[in-house]
Amino acid sequence: MSVTDFPVELPVPVPVPVQVPERSVRNDLRAVKIVWQRELIRFFRDKPRIVTALLQPMLYLFVFGTGMSSMVAGGRGDLKVFLFPGVMTMAVLFTSFFSAGSLVWDREFGFMREMLVAPVRRSAILVGKCAGGATAGTFQGVVVLAVAGLVGIRYTPSFVATVIGELVVVSFAITALGLALAVRIRAIQSFMALVQMLLMPLFFLSGALFPVAGLPGWLAVLTRLDPLTYAVDPLRRAVLAHAGGPLAATAQGVTWFGWTVPVPLELAVVALSAVAALAIAVTQFGKD
């Protein structure tokens, strides 16, 4: 840097009077919006991340799905269609968890302080982050949805609308869970290790890769305790009912003591987990 980088004669500024207004709901909403926008700018700028978060779901769908098809062939239909909702959830899971990790990132690289000293509610910052992660997650889910044609799922407006609606709820919940984990962690490596530890159990127990009906007792209990189960199942019911054929029979849904949990209740479980996770995140966030 040389001294010539600086103008010798500083320009005479046009006085622009600025006053920071008192805190209000309107300003908190502006804060939510700008935090959300920042997440999206960063998400769409990071193309490698978009691609890597899709790679693993695609491997499961096309490689695992095709490879295993020969084993389960015989009347039940295409395994890829069965896996499809699980794979969509997987794409959301990676993306939304990673988005929540930006909280740790911001803390480690200092940007957090810029937000913490602003005259806004801290909850506004978290809600904005959550909305950002939910949007990114939904986007990735929709990208997976775009390849549905390749596994023989037809698009109809009502099917697409149902799936997108469910993706929004699921992405929001997963981001909220990620934020609750990220809020007290100070190093991005610790967060990544924690996510690695949680991601696979959550995913495997969610029934993303197998039907949750007719499992041995211990596994049935574990799957019912995994909140992700209630995220995968509505998507699966939508996909399988839509696909029709012999596969539709496997869309029995999650049962509690033999009672089939209706989709709205499943989504309510997901939404409640989201609210609980976000509430935990907000109380923990204020404690610095």
Partner: protein, 335 residues
């Protein structure tokens, strides 16, 4: 000294006022009772070694840390009970950068404007104004990650000013920058003072930078040990620093003690001591020392001497010994 404790009288409420401010972390007393007043429009500096409690004090004044004792008001608002009002009226430039490297310079400022609820109609013109002030308007579309350290710091100063704060806090604004960039930063701060009616509250551990301040407080181990204008503090020391180069330093030190009753030590390769009216002392020195002198220099007291007079050590030595005592320290602070 006593009149220096009170901010210059302007008839207005002080921009910053602290009474018996204290902060304790477990067994560690980071700040042990600070009293000060800063007048509107003043440039006030906190000077002291790393770990003296400067950053903790700034964090309390910025509402980022709650004090464990005492009270403070900034821009007329209480830092604990009127936290949001304080935040609306202060700007901050931290020691470590708090910019988003993945956003452009302008996006960083726009984020700030939205977060502070600046009316949309004035956001654009104001962003242009502050960016022109720091000479970065041409680079507004560049990603901050491509900026040099000096450019980032200038952008942070622009951002700190965006919402027209009444008090701008600069925590070590030039640390880690090369000398040329440092002096440019000061040129901007100086220009800023002439343009915006603003109080600047800064910390530094560079002695020469404290000279830019109207008044400074010297801090050591959580306390203010001296407070006043740089000139007054230096005048108070009253002794000049004499450095001599001799053929035999040990003999010279012994002779200074036995013949003049002066404590001398080798610093920067020369026998160094303080004495009143140094220039008048030099002829006596040559006549009576008894050790051949090769060269001599006499210097007016610096703020380093002020620090030494109040704490018995130099800033550099204070930092070195603190680092010895708290090996885990550097990682724990400033976050």
């Amino acid at each position: 000294m006593s009149e220096a404790l009170v901010a210059p009288s302007t008839g207005r409420a002080p921009a910053v006022a602290a009474r018996a401010l204290a902060k304790r972390y477990g067994a560690v007393e980071a700040v042990r009772g600070i009293d000060l007043e800063v007048a509107p429009g003043e440039t006030f500096g906190f000077l002291g070694p790393n770990g003296a409690g400067k950053s903790t004090t700034i964090n309390i004044l910025c509402t980022l840390t709650a004090p464990s004792g005492g009270a403070a008001r900034v821009a007329g608002f209480d830092v604990v009970s009127e936290r949001d009002d304080v935040r609306r009226h202060i700007g901050l430039v931290f020691q470590d950068t708090t910019l988003d490297n993945y956003l452009s310079a302008e996006q960083n400022l726009r984020f700030h404007a939205e977060l502070y609820g600046i009316p949309r109609a004035v956001t654009g013109p104001r962003i242009q104004q502050v960016m022109e002030m720091v000479g970065l308007w041409d680079r507004r579309a560049s990603l901050v990650g491509t900026f040099s350290g000096g450019m980032k710091r200038r952008l942070e100063i622009a951002r700190g000013l965006l919402h027209s704060p009444r008090v701008l806090f600069l925590d070590e604004p030039t640390v880690g920058l090369d000398p040329q960039t440092r002096s440019s930063i000061w040129a901007y701060v100086d220009a800023l003072k002439r343009r915006e009616e603003i109080t600047i509250f800064m910390t530094t551990h560079y002695m020469e930078e404290a000279e830019y301040c109207d008044r400074i407080a010297i801090m050591d181990a959580g306390r203010i040990v001296a407070l006043g204008t740089p000139e007054a503090l230096k005048a108070e020391v009253g002794r000049d620093r004499v450095q001599i180069r001799t053929a035999d330093d040990a003999a010279a030190i012994a002779a200074l003690r036995s013949r003049f009753g002066l404590d001398a030590a080798v610093r920067d390769g020369a026998v160094t001591f303080s004495v009143a009216e140094g220039e008048r002392f030099v002829p006596r020195l040559f006549a009576e020392l008894g050790v051949p002198i090769r060269s001599v220099s006499v210097a007016r007291p610096t703020l380093d001497d002020v620090f030494m007079a109040h704490t018995g050590t130099t800033i550099r030595d204070a930092e070195a010994s603190r680092a010895e005592r708290t090996r885990v320290g550097p990682f724990a602070r400033g976050r």
